[in-house]
């Protein structure tokens, strides 16, 4: 009797197993969600809404994606939830921000690391830039370094918080120039940090390229340098940090993309990895992102895996002294 039951159970398992494999063929057969660990209206949120708006098309996933915001503690709340509670069934996706979550996991106090997640594809890359108010005397990174050398610890500059792209760029600039400056993290993120620069409360700031570009167009700030390997199409006249003699690479560039929790079936990951990048390439998506001043940078799963690994290495080295 026992044997019979056991074989029946085995048969059942085998059956459901094949049923599941078939299920992956139909995947996705119901709407999906994308968790964003920042608040509604922020750059990550609205970019996520734009890049997923064509998900329901037949040539994309064929099912709509709903955005769910879980903001708090600089993204830690959402990523903690995603690592520990999100279901690994392919219907729960998350947005990642690099270097934020890797830097946070290196500093500790969170329940995730790069190994907790499986990247699917990258949609955007927003480099950090160095800004000063429009009426500032400083006109190049050389002016900044000169002032910081003459006044150690006196140059105040704002950024969106600790262990986010801005902070990483700030640390790299200080290290490359061999100076000590006063980094002032802002609780209201990039917008708050930008206001501090415009109102003259701080002397300079590190901010997102897209926001700084709009502020420069509006005539409130000057952009002195881009923390990336190459100049940006939005700002062809602004030199990189490297061009100005500061050894700052692209470690602080804010990469945004889609991931799923570890343990998601391989077949589903493969299907998503094949479909999602083409979804990002949709001309409507591209048009909206361009209109919103958000630089796109589409990367496949393999490219993202390599990028995550490289970031982890540089960030460990950079944050070791803190």
């Amino acid at each position: 009797m026992k044997k019979l039951l056991a074989s029946a159970a085995l048969a059942l398992m085998a059956l459901t197993g094949t049923a599941q494999a078939d299920g992956h063929g139909n995947y996705p057969d119901r709407p999906m969600m994308l968790m964003v660990s920042y608040g509604a209206g922020g750059a990550t949120d609205f970019q996520a809404r734009i890049v997923t708006m064509t998900a329901g098309n037949e040539d994309a996933l064929g099912m709509p994606i709903a955005i769910i915001n879980k903001p708090g503690a600089g993204g830690r709340v959402g990523w903690n939830w995603f690592a520990t509670q999100a279901e690994a069934d392919g219907y729960t996706m998350g947005a990642y921000n690099i270097p934020h979550f890797i830097a946070q996991s290196i500093k500790g106090g969170v329940e995730y690391s790069a190994d907790s997640f499986e990247p699917i594809a990258n949609w955007g890359a927003d480099p950090a830039v160095f800004v000063v108010a429009a009426d500032s005397d400083m006109n190049s990174m050389a002016d900044v370094v000169e002032f910081a050398k003459a006044n150690p610890g006196k140059l105040t500059f704002s950024g969106a918080g600790l262990f986010v792209g801005h902070h990483i760029a700030a640390l790299q600039i200080e290290k490359a120039a061999g100076v000590k400056m006063a980094y002032i993290p802002n609780k209201k993120g990039g917008a708050g940090a930008m206001k501090a620069v415009i109102s003259g409360e701080v002397m300079a700031g590190v901010n997102n390229l897209s926001d700084a570009f709009r502020a420069q167009e509006a005539g409130t700030v000057k952009i002195l340098g881009v923390a990336d390997l190459e100049r940006n199409a939005f700002l062809p006249d602004v030199p990189t940090m490297m061009e100005q003699g500061l050894d700052v690479d692209n470690s602080s560039v804010n990469f945004r993309g889609v991931m799923v929790p570890k343990g998601t079936p391989k077949a589903i990951i493969d299907k998503l990895a094949a479909t999602v990048p083409t979804m990002f390439e949709n001309s409507r998506v591209q048009g909206k992102m361009k209109a919103g001043g958000s630089p796109m940078h589409i990367m496949t799963r393999d490219e993202v895996l390599a990028m995550w690994a490289a970031r982890e290495e540089t960030l460990k080295e950079l944050l070791a002294g803190l």
Binding site: A40, I68, P71, A73, G109, K154, G161, I198, A218, T220
Partner: protein, 497 residues
């Protein structure tokens, strides 16, 4: 007078239908506890993808104005503020509804919202260039002192005893410290992973205001003592209009306070209602009637939180700096639609900005008309017997907390905070000062910590926080406000003898 040329866009068939629909949906969303203006606007953003920029922004503007006014409905009828902006409305609005005058309370609230809201938008239309300069005057030290000004009214707000008010405020400030602190990188009072993001204001509000009432209703059950309202008193609109017109002082204080606070980025509309309520009480001849269902209390609070809406868009439109959480979502909505706010926006995109602002003006009027139409009908809620009401309000409270982030954690936090508040209320504490501490504590801390970091790199903390005309003015208000409440407490003790 540029804006007059752009009314045509608002009155085209589609735009007007979107405006009307947005206003009505906004009122309903606003009246639902937990669905704050911020969330309503965020929910609508995907819909704007399918519209052209003008219509998309008309929808967002209509939702913003009407959800703020709609929050008064649940504040008055259920004593649950729909959003932080409506906390002060519960104090007199609900007391009036309990007396069977819910219809009157709703009418006063919508009319006051109309006056405050329209004046606020007019300020946005005519004074934006001047106000934009003001926005930048509020740096860390000024914002810190503004928060402290708000904190000084804790002692006199909503409770009979100054000491108990202050204690409740301290509890609120303590709850505000919970969570992961981004600036120092410290973890504070995180006993459970669900607290790592801190206590979200919406579940806290629902817990503090709804749960003690629900427990109370269950305790009383079907007993006949303390009878419920049998009949809602009729109240013709003309009488409400006369009442609002008579209360010029409350209306003036409410509108002025709301407009000023609206311009200051970060402090936003959350406290406009409470500060206006407190100030109009200080200047009222009928001071002792506040809290018992007094019309001045409703008028001051509601005119203030709607007057805040227009000016809160000044820093957003001219500097791309959102003045309130809802404005932050609106900024996303503008950028998605290809509109980049900045000093030149009225020149570069007049065909979008002016219809957007005009629609808020028309939206205020539609909101008031629709609100007055439903006032008598909605007020009947007060007649629902306790044993039916209690489970319904509980269901709303759970739904509202859950919907903030689709998370049961918020529901548990709401229930625990609510149970704690029930015990505190037994000992004569009230929720209003507690929630003010919860809102202002983190704002004060944030600006102090940021200011201190900047000050240390410059001339030190004392000169940073204690010099500058605006700082000194704000410090004078703090001192005056504390002196006043101490004096009132001494006088009250003498009277009680």
């Amino acid at each position: 007078m540029d804006f007059l040329n752009y009314f045509g866009e608002v009155f085209s068939l589609w735009s007007f239908l979107i405006l009307l629909g947005g206003t009505i949906i906004g009122l309903i969303l606003g009246a639902t506890p937990g669905l704050s203006p911020t969330m309503a606007v965020a929910l609508a953003i995907p819909f704007t993808f399918q519209m052209d920029a003008v219509n998309g922004l008309i929808l967002l503007g209509a939702l913003y104005t009407s959800t703020v006014a709609g929050g008064a409905v649940s504040a008055i009828l259920l004593k649950i503020p729909g959003a932080p902006a409506n906390i002060a409305t519960t104090l007199d609005g609900n007391a009036m509804a309990k007396k069977g005058e819910g219809k009157k309370a709703l009418q006063l609230s919508f009319l006051a919202s109309l006056v405050g809201g329209v004046l606020g938008v007019l300020l946005l239309i005519f004074a934006t260039p001047v106000l934009a300069k003001w926005t930048l005057a509020f740096k860390s030290s000024e914002s810190f002192w503004i928060a402290i000004v708000g904190i000084t009214i804790i002692g006199t707000l909503g409770s009979k005893s100054v000491v108990k008010g202050l204690l409740a405020g301290c509890i609120g400030m303590w709850i505000g410290t919970i969570g992961f602190d981004d600036i120092q990188g410290a973890q504070r009072f995180i006993f459970h992973p669900s607290l790592s993001g801190g206590v979200h204001i919406i579940p806290a509000l629902i817990g503090l205001f709804a749960i003690p009432q629900i427990i109370d209703m269950f305790l009383k059950g079907r007993s006949r003592d303390d009878m419920e309202v049998i009949k809602v008193a009729p109240h013709p609109i003309t009488k409400a209009v006369k009442e609002v017109a008579r209360r010029t002082r409350a209306l003036g204080i409410g509108t002025a306070v709301g407009s000023i606070i609206g311009i200051i980025p970060g402090v936003g509309g959350q406290i406009a209602g409470l500060v206006a309520y407190d100030q109009s009480r200080n200047f009222s001849a009928e001071r002792e009637k506040f809290g018992t269902g007094h019309s001045e209390g409703i008028i001051a609070a509601e005119s203030a939180n709607n007057a805040m809406v227009g000016p809160s868009l000044v820093p957003l439109l001219t500097l791309s700096i959102p003045g309130s959480p809802t404005a932050a979502v609106l900024l996303g909505g503008l950028i998605i639609n290809g509109i980049f706010p900045g000093p030149g926006i009225f020149k570069t995109d007049p065909h979008v900005v002016w219809p957007f602002i005009n629609s808020m003006l028309i939206g205020q009027i539609l909101m008031c008309i629709f609100g007055l139409l439903i006032a008598g009908w909605a007020a009947q809620i007060a007649r629902v017997p306790r044993h039916v009401m209690a489970p319904m309000v509980l269901a709303l409270a759970v739904f509202g907390s859950y919907s903030v982030q689709l998370s049961m954690d918020h529901v548990y936090i709401m229930l625990i905070i609510g149970a704690g508040m029930f015990v505190l209320e037994r000992y004569g504490f009230s929720a209003a000062p507690l929630v003010l501490g919860l809102i202002l504590g983190p704002i004060a801390e944030e600006h102090f910590v940021t200011g201190a970091a900047i000050a240390q790199a410059q001339d030190g903390i004392i000169p940073f926080f204690f010099t500058g005309t605006l700082n000194l003015c704000l410090i004078a208000i703090v001192v005056a406000s504390i002196t006043y409440s101490v004096w009132m407490e001494i006088r009250n003790r003498k009277v009680r003898g």
